[in-house]
Amino acid sequence: MEQLFFILLALLTLSAALMVVTTRNLLHAAFWLILVFFGIAGFFILLHAEFLAVVQVLIYIGAISTLIIFAIMLTRRIMDPQQPRFNSQWGLVGGLAALLFVVLAAVTTRVAWPTTSATLPAEPIKQLGADFVGVYAVPFEVASVLLVVAMIGAIIIARERG
């Protein structure tokens, strides 16, 4: 049952992803991207990472997709749907991307990955919160500084200079 669900979700996500990179109309591509993000949130639930599934929906769909749609709208005037979608190297890229997939898949299926017998912590979200102010305190602070810097940087870059 779980496997069937996985296959269906994978088909949905991958075909949506293919639409993202091939659709001529960018706005449509952005909507396909949202579908991909939902699919991935579904995988997170399958993986028992419910918290991250919520984060995925909030950040990717709530924030990043919106941002991308904004960017598309703001540059609308020059987004001529008649223009070619791809640059001149797309054929080669397609071949190489397929090759990369084959090679990656071959590598991952051949390695005997170790498995664990540990069980999920009782309250994973609580544990995660504690970890962020404990073990991962420094990376966590660095990440927050990074976000602030990125935000300030984005404002300065995009600001109208007059």
């Binding site: 496997q3 996985f6 994978a10 996500t13 991958l14 993202v20 990179v21 960018l26 991207l33 991909v36 993000f37 991935i40 993986l47 028992h48 990472a49 991250l52 984060v55 995925q56 950040i59 990717y60 990043i64 991308i68 904004f70 960017a71 703001l74 540059t75 020059i78 979608r85 791809f86 640059n87 001149s88 190297q89 797309w90 890229v93 397609g94 991307a97 990369l100 990656l104 898949a105 991952t108 299926t109 990955w113 170790p114 498995t115 664990t116 540990a118 069980t119 999920l120 912590p121 995660l128 970890d131 962020f132 990376p139 990440a143 976000l147 810097v149 940087g153 984005a154 404002i155 870059i157």
Partner: protein, 102 residues
């Protein structure tokens, strides 16, 4: 239960598709979407490995959260850059952005 390799193959496929988007699309916003796909593929990998090999500690979660943070920062800066470039060069076609040309 779904085997680990299924997730890995799925992530590989998503990564390759994203890669294709990054390398083959003309529009800078479309390139950014490709990058998002690639980052998501990485997140699937991180969580799958966590689920199957390190369930006891939440290291996979923590990494995924950091990846999402970086993705958010990257998207914000990326979009700001498009707007700046668009304003200056009146284009978001990556083929025309070749200031690095030697």
């Amino acid at each position: 239960m779904v085997p680990l390799t299924w997730y890995l193959v799925l992530a590989a496929a998503l990564f390759a598709i994203g890669m294709f988007g990054v390398l083959a699309r003309k529009n800078a916003v479309a390139v950014l979407m490709g990058v998002e796909l690639m980052l998501n593929a990485v997140n699937i990998n991180l969580l799958a490995f966590w689920r199957y090999t390190a369930l006891g500690e939440l290291v996979g979660h923590a990494f995924a959260v950091f990846v999402i943070t970086v993705a958010a920062a990257e998207a914000a800066v990326g979009v700001a850059l498009f707007i700046a470039v668009y304003r200056q060069r009146d284009t978001v076609n990556v083929e025309e952005l070749d200031a690095m040309k030697g």
